[in-house]
């Protein structure tokens, strides 16, 4: 009965590869997010989707592209992976845009070698 689930939990890959992380929420929420957490635990918002529309896009390289086939899913695709992309990526969702409790997934640890 996981509310926000993301796969894979761990991902180890070489520089230059392309990879995707998937996220699904079964809470019926309208807004989903991707956050990046670095080694110092700093949480930085990357993207959010509201009703299948990208509503924010912070200063994230265009190698990162979110894809939302429907409001329950928000996948993250990363092209040409770099060492600095190594981090834990968290998917989250909330009821309404910019309000209410954020529900986080368990995280996907990406290691780029």
């Amino acid at each position: 009965d996981t509310a926000v689930s993301q796969t894979p939990k761990y991902l180890v890959t070489q520089m230059g590869n392309d990879k995707s992380i998937k996220c699904e929420q079964n809470l019926g929420h309208d807004t989903m997010y991707w956050y990046k957490q670095d080694s110092k635990k700093f949480l930085k918002i990357m993207f959010s989707y509201n009703n299948k529309e990208l509503i924010i896009n912070e200063t994230v390289p265009n190698r990162f592209s979110p894809k939302s086939p429907d409001k329950a899913h928000l996948n993250l695709h990363i092209n040409s992976l770099e060492l600095g992309d190594s981090a834990v990526y968290f998917c989250a969702s909330t009821v309404g845009r910019k309000s209410g409790e954020l529900f986080f997934g368990e995280g996907s640890r990406l290691t780029v070698l």
Partner: protein, 111 residues
């Protein structure tokens, strides 16, 4: 990156003592605040929230205090237990904007 130069503050408390975790927020337009707990290997989990029209809110063993004058938020945990060991984040939500997370504080509970 954004975290260069930042370190993760650590608070160590004895089991059974009360813990106070502090957070300074930056935007006077923030009208909603939340505390999250992140255990090792897991995602952040909601603990308690407070609106800007309040200065105190209590939950089970936790209390959040809001001082808008000095833009300060605190989380008090009563009778701290080993299971409270985690990284704690405050988040502010400026009106009309998205969640902004603070740098986090690691709480270590000593036996």
């Amino acid at each position: 990156g954004e975290s260069v130069g930042l370190h993760l503050p650590t608070l160590s408390v004895q089991e059974g003592d009360n813990s106070i975790i502090n957070c300074a927020y930056s935007n006077s337009a923030s009208d909603y605040f939340i505390w999250y707990k992140q255990e090792s290997g897991k995602g952040p989990q909601f603990i308690i929230d407070i609106r800007s029209n309040m200065d105190k809110r209590q939950g089970q063993r936790v209390t959040v205090l809001l001082n808008k004058t000095v833009k300060h938020l605190s989380l008090q945990i009563a009778a701290t237990q080993p299971g409270d060991s985690a990284v704690y984040f405050c988040a502010e939500v400026p009106y009309g904007q998205n969640f902004v997370f603070g740098p986090g504080t690691r709480l270590s509970v000593l036996p």
